[in-house]
């Protein structure tokens, strides 16, 4: 599903990632961990093509980073759901519209959008907040809206960049439960976090980055 081959990314003389090679299979739930500045976010950005590798190749669901045209990037991104630590919600739109926008971009008809948004809201347990605006929601609720928006388009891969970074223990547990449910339906998940508690005793695969190097690849 995702394959990195000798990938290097450099930002103005600072090597964010150095010759990274790994692959993740379809339906896998994989954590990426490491201290701040280890290269976790850069790795995710390379997957959703916000950045291009300076060396090496990346293959995502059959799309090769070398041969990908700029005009194809939106279509690749439709296969990828992204959950950010800072949510990135549209403050001037309510919960329904924040989720629906992911489908409107894909040109899905409004009637179908209604059903799918409600289904996604049901999964994150926020149906009662459908008309609320982001600033009326708690951090945990906002993150659940972001997850609903990320999965409403049925992506094959779900990327999460420190999604629980701003949340308390209870909210974190709730979010993790949702991710496990999504993964159980067959979606591949890459979950970047510096919080080791999230994957301890789960038996799931963990990639550890440090200073731009892949220092360990265990579990799974």
């Amino acid at each position: 599903m995702i394959a990195f081959s000798e990938v290097t990314k450099v930002y103005e003389n600072i090597t964010a990632l150095r010759k990274i090679t790994f692959s993740i299979g379809k339906g896998e739930f994989c954590f990426i961990t490491g201290p701040s500045g280890a290269g976790k976010s850069t790795l995710l950005k390379l997957i959703y093509l916000a950045e291009k590798p300076d060396e090496g190749r990346i293959n995502i669901a059959g799309w090769d980073s070398d041969r990908l045209k700029m005009s194809s990037i939106p279509y690749l991104r439709r296969n990828i759901g992204i959950v950010f630590q800072d949510f990135k919600l549209l403050s001037n739109r309510n919960v329904y519209d924040n989720i629906a926008i992911a489908l409107r971009i894909r040109g899905v008809p409004e009637r179908e959008i209604k059903d799918r948004v409600h289904e996604a809201l049901k999964l994150v347990n926020l149906r009662h907040k459908v008309d609320s605006y982001p600033d009326m929601l708690s951090g945990g609720e906002q993150q659940r809206v972001t997850i609903a928006r990320a999965i409403v388009g049925d992506p094959t891969v779900l990327l999460a960049d420190e999604p629980t970074g701003n949340l308390d223990v209870d909210n974190t547990a709730g979010i993790m439960r949702i991710f496990r449910e999504i993964n159980a339906k067959g979606t591949t998940i890459l979950f970047a976090t510096h919080n080791k508690e999230l994957f301890r005793h789960t038996g799931l695969r963990v990639l550890t980055l440090d200073g731009g190097n892949l220092v360990s690849d265990v579990g799974g």
Binding site: P74, I101, I105, R106, G153
Partner: protein, 288 residues
Amino acid sequence: MYSVKLGLKSLWRERWINILSVLTIGVGFFVLAVVALLLLNLELASRRLPEKFTITVFLEDEISQRGILRIRKMIERATVVEKVDFISKEEAFEDLKKSLKDSAYILEGLDRNPLFPTFVIRLRKSAFDREKVEQLIKEIRGMRGVEDLVYGEEFLGVVSRFRVMIRLLSITLMGLFFVATVFVCYSTVKILFYRRKEEIEIFKLLGATGGFIRLPFLVEGSIIGLLGGLFSGGLLYGLFEISRRYVAGGVPIITGLNPVLTVVAILPVFGVVLGVIGSAIAVGRVKF
């Protein structure tokens, strides 16, 4: 369809800046339209001037009927000629007598008619072309049987220079207003684009195509242009009506303005085209 809706929503959300742009474009268009109409009417008026412009060809005293016919045919062949009148020696003498009226007695002492047979040439107003007229004059001068020729050389030059000047002025003004309108649309859409930068970034991450991101701005730009055009059209029509109804006898330069209604109808179309061009430049190519 959703992109169009986004454009319309933004048009309302950012109504103050949009109203300002509409007013700017509208006033600009209005000034342009009035100036263009004035210039157009001056051009039309200058086209009528050649009607008053005649060439008088004096023929040799003893010219034969065949000679007269030959010259007439040659003159009539020229595209710039509207009408050719022949005035015989005798007719000319009679005309002179009539114009002298009571003083006609001064002609009594003459033992022969001193006048020449003449051709009076009127030029076609629609095909007034200085070079062609001068070419015709040269040809007539070179013909056998032609004694002399009189025409308003200076007048011809002034009309010709005046028309060239009007054309240059029109093109320059049109060009300036074209650039100014595109610039107003460009800067408005650029501001709106920056204001929505964060939203656009989110759209990109969710898989929006360049077209989906660009279209709302093009819709917005075209509507700003359209409203600007309608506003200026309204102003122009208002000015036209007011001057027609309330100004005594109407202001001739306005009521006489030729295609006011055509211009009123064209302005909104012009606005849409320039609005789309301005916003397309402002949004540019969407990078992912």
